[in-house]
Amino acid sequence: MLTITSEKENKHDILKLNGEIDASNSVILDEAIQKLAANGSKSILVDGEHLQYISSAGLGVFMSYLEDFQEKEIQLKIFGLSARVYEVFKILGLDQLISIYPTKVEAILD
């Protein structure tokens, strides 16, 4: 199960992920990010505090926007990941490519 809520805070769009992301629902995450990018958002903050699990398909979604966002100068930051979920990003090496922060404040300040 995955629910995504999106809210705007100043210039930042915050995507709150709640639940688990796997092959069956990764498309929901993809659509949510795509929608924000299409609406002209320049800073997307992903709130992973309530993200319990992410599968390779979910990681694939974040990965697929790397180059695209770099070109369009859209910032994608993730914060609040649990240790377990962060480990998954780290093993794959995505922590080197995506900015991941412990808290929202740090994500905004950086």
């Binding site: 092959a23 993809d30 319990q52 699990y53 599968s55 390779s56 398909a57 990681l59 694939g60 979604v61 990965m63 697929s64 790397l66 180059e67 377990r84 093993i91 794959l92 090496g93 995505l94 080197q96 490519l97």
Partner: protein
């Protein structure tokens, strides 16, 4: 009884009938001759009675046979046969009369032998008419027969047979017995005349025809009766109980049929309608045969509904994905009219409420009034298949309020039945399709299995086992080995993102890349860089592959390795009696599809000693969950190896798989692909 060959029965009885008739004529003429010449009456009248009865039976035999052979349950042709016989008989009798009226008072006119001859001719004709018609009536009476009617008919036949021989008892005299028999036979005939079940099955037109034919039978039959009594004025033939009662039966049944048919005329269209509806319903409920398509059912549906509602125009609108854009089927409505009416329908508020509300299966048919020059009332019926609205049927009538409750009910039933037929058809097709997919997947599974090595390359200095399990039919895990030379071996393990078929395709690409690049004598990190570059061109943008590669040098006792986003490999060192995860950085393959990748991959080398164990695996093991959503995790795997380090590789492998299964619990399945490769170093190399 003697069994005669079947084909001869008709001809035989016909021949016999003619012979008997000639004999009867001869006997009667001889009698007449004797009477005129005052000779001794040596021939009794019993003799001609016997011949008469024989004649009856022969005619009966002939017609019984010939009608049974030609009958096709076509009521109209049956009645026509009776009518035509009567016409023939009447015309012959009339010809005789005309002949006599032409003769006037000449001597020939009073010639007793000629009169007797003509009497016998008309007698034969009347008998033929009566008996053949009686047999026709039998077929009509016994239509949709039940036991009771069959019994009645048999009783009547027996009574008639007795009546035939009754002449011998009463000897041409009237009496109480004669009257009793007369009443009994007429009563039976009346009872039988009540069996008229065939009439409702005639169409309106057929009813008119049958009225005509029946009228012919009644009028000509009665005429025959009178003229016969005219010709045989001295009695003899009319006195025969059999002939009189048979007459009564023929005429009464014809009269009953005539009246009932006449009174059935006004309601016959209703009966026809119901019959058509029943037939249509049956056609709709027949499942669609393989090779046919749903359009045929919709075609029948549209026609059936139109005839049930006496609609003047109709069309079907399909709006589901299965049909090309706004598929329609039209009846008596031009494209222009449909457009006009659709517009009128859409403007009605009720239509909006109707199609917009609630579940599709709860939508009721809707009757609306429209202001259109040609049509004034419209009925909308939803077509719901598998709880989905796939379209609607529109019936139009020229009159206002043209649809009543009965029509809506029957149409709803038609629509439901048609939708069920279509649904069943689809389900059947789906089942066949699914079966084919299953077969295809089975093939895919076998192909994929063959992509994983059955023989793992190694020498006597290390043992190796491997195992892979896919969550679905096919999976995205990959492992392989390669022997560079006696002392150099390469192991690889990989995991394709995603699951199932797409993962399986990418896994086979990985195999191709490994088997090609490994020939090029690359270092582990060079291998990853080249593999990344190749996969960058092969994988979809949101797919990636993780892998770990190990170059084992058994002469140096070293392992050089690189990791590309893959779960860290577990290593047990016997020296420290400890198992740890190898720490090395590296980004998954296909994530960065440019030169930058080179900065994200490392290469490390370590030495091993005997009894060290290397465990390569995929994340399916780590991420396997128990009933409370706890992960199997890194620590559980690490300590498992540490505790069981003395086991042989295959034992260790079983141990890990067993604990994984017992962790997941009961009959729970591991929800991801998982693979495992266990390497145990045995002897040290030259340096040792």
């Amino acid at each position: 009884m003697i069994k005669l060959p079947k084909i001869h029965i008709g001809k035989l009885s016909l021949l016999l009938a003619i012979l008997v008739w000639l004999a009867l004529l001869f006997v009667d003429l001889v009698k007449l001759f004797a009477q005129i010449n005052g000779l001794d009456q040596s021939i009794t009248s019993e003799f001609s009675w016997v011949l008469q009865i024989l004649f009856f039976l022969m005619v009966y035999g002939f017609y019984k046979y010939s009608i049974a052979k030609n009958i096709q349950n076509d009521f109209l042709s049956l009645i026509w046969r009776g009518a035509s016989t009567s016409i023939f008989a009447v015309s012959v009798v009339t010809l005789i009369k005309v002949f006599y009226s032409l003769l006037g008072d000449s001597r020939l006119a009073n010639e007793p032998f000629l009169i007797s001859f003509f009497q016998h001719v008309s007698f034969a004709l009347i008998i033929i008419f009566l008996i053949s018609t009686a047999i026709l009536w039998q077929h009509l009476i016994l239509y949709q027969k039940n036991k009771r009617v069959v019994k009645q008919w048999q009783a009547y036949e027996i009574a008639m047979l007795i009546g035939m021989f009754y002449t011998f008892i009463n000897e041409g005299e009237l009496g109480a017995g004669y009257l009793f028999m007369l009443v009994l036979l007429c009563g039976l005939a009346l009872i039988l005349s009540g069996n008229l079940k065939w009439i409702p099955y005639l169409t309106f037109k057929e009813k008119w025809k049958s009225l005509l034919f029946l009228a012919v039978i009644i009028i000509f039959g009665t005429y025959l009766f009178w003229s016969e009594s005219f010709i045989t004025s001295e009695g003899g033939l009319t006195n025969n109980l059999f002939i009189i009662t048979l007459y009564f039966f023929i005429i009464s049944y014809a009269l009953f049929s005539f009246l009932v048919t006449l009174f059935n005329l006004p309601t016959s269209s209703v009966f026809e309608q119901k019959l058509t509806e029943a037939i249509n319903f049956q056609r709709l409920s027949q499942s669609i045969q393989p090779g046919e398509n749903e359009d045929q059912v919709l075609d029948i549906l549209l026609d059936s509904c139109m005839s049930a509602a006496y609609a003047d125009a109709a069309w079907l609108e399909m709006n589901s994905e299965e049909y090309p854009e706004n598929f329609t089927m039209e009846r008596f409505a031009t494209h222009q009219t449909i457009l006009e009416l659709s517009k009128l329908i859409e403007t009605q508020k009720v239509t909006h409420d109707w199609s917009g509300k609630g579940k599709p299966e709860e939508i009721q048919p809707l009757i609306i009034r429209v202001d259109h020059p040609n049509f004034e009332s419209i009925l909308l019926i939803p077509l719901v298949i598998n709880k989905q609205l796939i379209g609607r049927m529109v019936l139009c009538k020229e009159v206002r309020d043209g649809f009543n409750k009965e029509m809506v009910n029957i149409i709803s039933t038609f629509v439901r039945q048609a939708c069920i037929s279509v649904e069943n058809h689809r389900l059947l097709n789906q089942a066949i399709e699914n079966e084919r997919y299953r077969e295809e997947l089975k093939i895919a599974k076998n192909v994929q299995k063959s992509l994983l090595p059955t023989q793992l390359d190694h020498n006597e200095q290390f043992e190796i086992v491997a195992y892979s399990n896919a969550a679905d039919e096919v999976g995205g895990d990959y492992y392989d080995t390669y022997k560079i030379d006696e002392h150099h071996y390469v192991l690889i393990i990989g995991d394709v993102s995603g699951k199932g078929t797409s993962a399986a395709f990418n896994m086979s690409q990985m195999k191709g890349i490994f088997q090609s690049l490994i020939q090029l004598d690359l270092s582990p990190s060079e291998f990853m860089i080249k593999a990344n570059a190749a996969l960058g061109r092969c994988l979809e943008r949101n797919h990636f592959i993780t892998a770990s590669i190990f170059y084992i040098n058994t002469s140096e006792n070293t392992v050089c390795h690189a990791r590309a986003g893959h779960v860290p490999t577990l290593f047990y060192t016997s020296k420290d009696d400890k198992s740890t995860y190898l720490e090395i950085d590296g980004l998954g393959l296909g994530i960065l599809r440019n030169k930058q990748y080179e900065m994200h991959v490392e290469e490390k080398t370590f030495s091993y000693s005997p009894d060290d164990v290397l465990v390569l695996y995929t994340d399916g093991i780590i991420e396997a969950k128990d009933e409370e959503s706890n992960q199997f995790g890194f620590e559980r795997l690490r300590s498992l190896l540490e505790i069981n380090n003395e086991l042989s590789p295959s034992q260790l492998q079983s141990k890990i798989i067993d604990s994984l299964h017992s962790f997941v619990g009961g009959d729970g399945m591991v929800d991801d692909d998982y693979s495992l490769m266990v390497v145990k170093f045995i002897h040290s190399g030259k340096k040792d």
